[in-house]
Amino acid sequence: MDDFLINALLAGLGIAVLAGPLGSFMVWRRLAYFGDTLAHASLLGVALGLWLQINPVIAVVFSGVMLAVILLSLQRYKQLASDTLLGIMAHSALSLGLVVVALMDNVRIDLMAYLFGDLLAVTQQDLLWIWGGGAVVLAILLSQWNKLLSATVNEQIAEVEGVNVGLMRALLLLLLAVVVAIAMKIVGALIISSLLLIPAATARRLSRSPEQMAVFAIVFGAISVVLGLCLSWYQDTPAGPSVVVCAALQFLLIHSLVKVQK
């Protein structure tokens, strides 16, 4: 097996491990559209990173955090629903990113690579970001696991019991932003949100506890990565989209085979 395929596998599996638990929280808190918006806005982050000459991962995290702050403050007005606001922000940020890139004469970036990623061009440095950054994200997630769950079930009960629910909300958005930033270069902006969403949604059908759902989501994500890369290797299909197609087929299969649990 070639090096680049092994790197692709390691990168994809790392992202699956991160996406499982965070994607589950995304589903429980109905943040699916937020994840999507985050991914769209990441292109703006990349553009800003190039313009200001800072590390693109950090720039994307920064743009994601800005997005969360803007969303949280806009939500107070309540005149427009969150999904409307997110729709506006997602497409404005994506377009603004494209415009900023076009305005920079000396920069040429491969747009397709940012939208769909390039799993087969993973470098050692990318792997370091995924597994190193990923370990930090997982450590934070595990150390706060019960508090995050409690705040997700009911914020008022959690707050009366002494959990800082505002911090938990911010922490989840921040971790999501970090994971999108780390993963976007590998699997692309349009695909990371499906890797967060689809395995978690698949896992729901089989799970009786939140921990089970997070672990199953990791397993389904990993299977999608392996099958998708195989498809890409043998049939010469684009790697990222192949992974998503496998995840979607898995979702359909599980949901039609397994009956709803009472």
Binding site: K147, S150, V153, I157, E161, R204, P210
Partner: protein, 252 residues
């Protein structure tokens, strides 16, 4: 009687609208206080002030030192996508011990519910489970926001009885919020009628006779209440048919 918490002239307004207008009250150990009032009277806001979830614009709150409060919300809007058994939900409580868990499970007889999914519970089962979660922290004050919503009438009576029994067992104070008047008053020591300000307060019978109370609630509801308390007085006491006279405890 130990005072657990007292509010003094609490005012809260949202967007220049006065929601709580100089509200003062006292919650005591071993006492069940019922907070009633029409929809939009500021009951939920008052609860949040008491729980410390929002702060008042003016006035002050005195809490007994290290006061442990247990809170039972109206409902929890758990997403269907969240797989959570009753047992796991109870174990999410921040200050729970194994012994405490066993105790509340038997107190509320919910052992058969432990393996059930939270989203599949009926209204009455959900309220018991939420009550159990609140009791895990060994509260000195139990705050319940409309605890009988979605529960049928016989279930409501049972649930109120359960709350009263447990409160007596563990010797905690109880604050109960309700907008319906049919059953709440039976086991209550003290009633506070709220419509942004405290309209009247006192023992159930005296509040039921208060003109402000009559103005706030429809005549037929008041009659049902009167029938019910009358009935209950007969049941529990001397079986003599006398109608309770309004006491002189009311003010404002």
């Amino acid at each position: 009687m130990t005072t657990l918490l007292s509010l003094n002239n609490i005012c809260v307004s949202f967007d220049d609208r006065m929601v709580l207008d100089h509200v003062s009250l006292e919650l005591n150990r071993g006492q069940i206080t019922t907070l009633i009032g029409p929809n939009g009277a500021g009951k939920s806001t008052l609860i949040k002030v008491i729980l410390g979830l929002i702060s008042a614009d003016s006035g002050n709150i005195a809490r007994a030192s290290k006061l442990r409060i247990g809170y039972v919300p109206q409902k929890i809007s758990l997403d269907e996508s969240f797989p959570l058994t009753v047992e796991r939900f109870l174990k999410l409580a921040r200050h729970s011990s194994k012994a405490g868990l066993t105790k509340v499970i038997s107190q509320l007889s919910i052992s058969r519910l432990l393996d059930r999914q939270m989203v599949r519970l009926s209204g009455g089962e959900m309220q018991r489970v939420l009550l159990a979660r609140a009791l895990l922290g060994e509260p000195q004050l139990l705050v319940l926001d409309e605890p009988v919503q979605g529960v049928d009438i016989s279930g409501q009576i049972e649930l109120y009885q359960l709350i009263a029994d447990i409160a007596q067992q563990i010797g905690c104070g109880v604050l109960l919020v309700s907008h319906d008047l049919h059953l709440v008053m039976a086991g209550t020591d003290h009633v506070i009628c709220l419509n942004h300000h405290v309209c009247c307060h006192g023992e159930p019978e005296s509040v039921a006779q208060h003109p402000e109370f009559a103005r706030l609630f429809a005549q037929n509801e008041r009659q049902q209440l009167a029938v019910y308390t009358h009935h209950h007085v007969c049941d529990e006491h001397d079986h003599e048919h006398h109608h309770p006279q309004p006491s002189s405890e009311e003010n404002n």
